[in-house]
């Protein structure tokens, strides 16, 4: 159980900058007005970030697109854990069949 000092320095530097990205949003939000266009922007932020994260993954190939569509339809009916389990199974089966 050893820790190399250079490796630890790298881990600390990564951690410090990562924590900075995490508090920066709080510091900015505290200084923003709570109404008008800024309010509209903050309200739109959650779906905008979620879609920006998933869109390139879903568009990376036909299997991902098909599995994504299945998940989208299932999520309207099923609880989250069931939706995720079926989505994972669909992705695995399609890859087994076509890759």
């Amino acid at each position: 159980m050893t820790i190399d000092p250079v490796n630890f320095a790298a881990i600390l530097a990564m951690g410090a900058l990562t924590y900075f990205t995490r508090i920066l949003g709080f510091l900015i939000a505290d200084r923003l007005p709570k109404s008008g266009p800024v309010r509209v922007a903050l309200d739109a932020l959650p779906p905008a970030v979620l879609v920006a994260v998933i869109a390139p993954i879903v568009m990376s190939g036909p299997i991902e697109a098909a599995a994504g569509l299945v998940v989208l339809l299932l999520a309207l009916r099923l609880p989250l854990i069931a939706t995720v389990a079926v989505g994972v199974a669909v992705a695995a089966l399609l890859r087994l069949a076509f890759l």
Partner: protein
């Protein structure tokens, strides 16, 4: 009004799928770290101090001896810059945390953020709910990434099992909760998706999340109904 016990249970139920999705990747992270010569103690230190999955996986890919400290730190900053957007959105919803907000920020992950934002649609985010979700993720991330340094070799091709699809599946399902009609949410989703896909295909690195999110926000502001000036004129406080 919910009780702390109910919030604790709700947090556990909410976090369970994301834990199931994160554990295989923590195991692989540990295995990859071992292949790069990192020790279990260093893995534990990284998972505890950085605690940001995708940046850790990329870091291990970039790792060499001696560690390229500046390159690793800059990469972590760029990959995790999306947390700034998440924090800006979450900030007002957990303002009642007081000083615990700075601890909450340390534990902020894509998963804890998305689950909390989803929760905030229906009811306020309590400390119990947030920290149940965030600390459960933290505990399993540490444990699985360290276990991965020992057992990770048994899980080398997660994509064959579809496991890489668990994370997008969770986010797709959560994203549905933010739907407020085609008029309000449609432009946000389209702008964000189109810009994210284009930037992902053309610009290296993690800029696509920031670019897509900003495009989505811009679409919301541009297409928002212009009610505010009239209300301001009437001297009313809207919220």
């Amino acid at each position: 009004m919910t009780t702390p016990l109910a919030d604790f249970r709700a947090g556990l139920v909410a976090v369970f799928p994301t834990v199931a999705a994160a554990v295989p990747f923590a195991l692989i992270l540990g295995q990859q770290a071992t292949a790069k010569g990192l020790t279990p103690a260093e893995m534990l230190a990284m998972s505890s101090i950085v605690f940001a999955g995708s940046s850790q996986l990329i870091a291990v890919g970039l790792w060499s001896t001696p560690a390229p400290v500046a390159a690793l730190a800059l990469m972590a900053f760029l990959v995790n810059l999306r947390h700034t957007l998440m924090g800006a959105s979450l900030s007002g919803k957990i303002a009642h945390f007081g000083r615990l907000r700075w601890v909450a920020a340390f534990l902020l992950t894509d998963e804890a953020w998305a689950l909390s934002e989803r929760r905030a649609i229906d009811q306020p985010i309590s400390r119990t709910f947030y920290f149940t979700v965030a600390l459960t993720m933290f505990f399993f991330w540490q444990t699985a990434s360290v276990l991965g340094t020992v057992f990770g070799t048994y899980l080398e091709h997660p994509e064959a099992w579809g496991l890489d699809f668990a994370f997008p599946a969770i986010f797709i399902a959560l994203a549905l909760g933010f739907w407020k009609g085609a008029r309000r949410t449609g432009p946000v989703l389209v702008a964000s998706a189109v810009v994210a896909v284009i930037v992902h295909a053309t610009v290296p690195g993690a800029w696509y999340v920031i670019a897509g999110a900003i495009a989505g926000i811009a679409a919301a502001v541009i297409t928002a109904p212009r009610e505010q000036p009239a209300e301001a004129l009437a001297g009313e406080t809207t919220r």
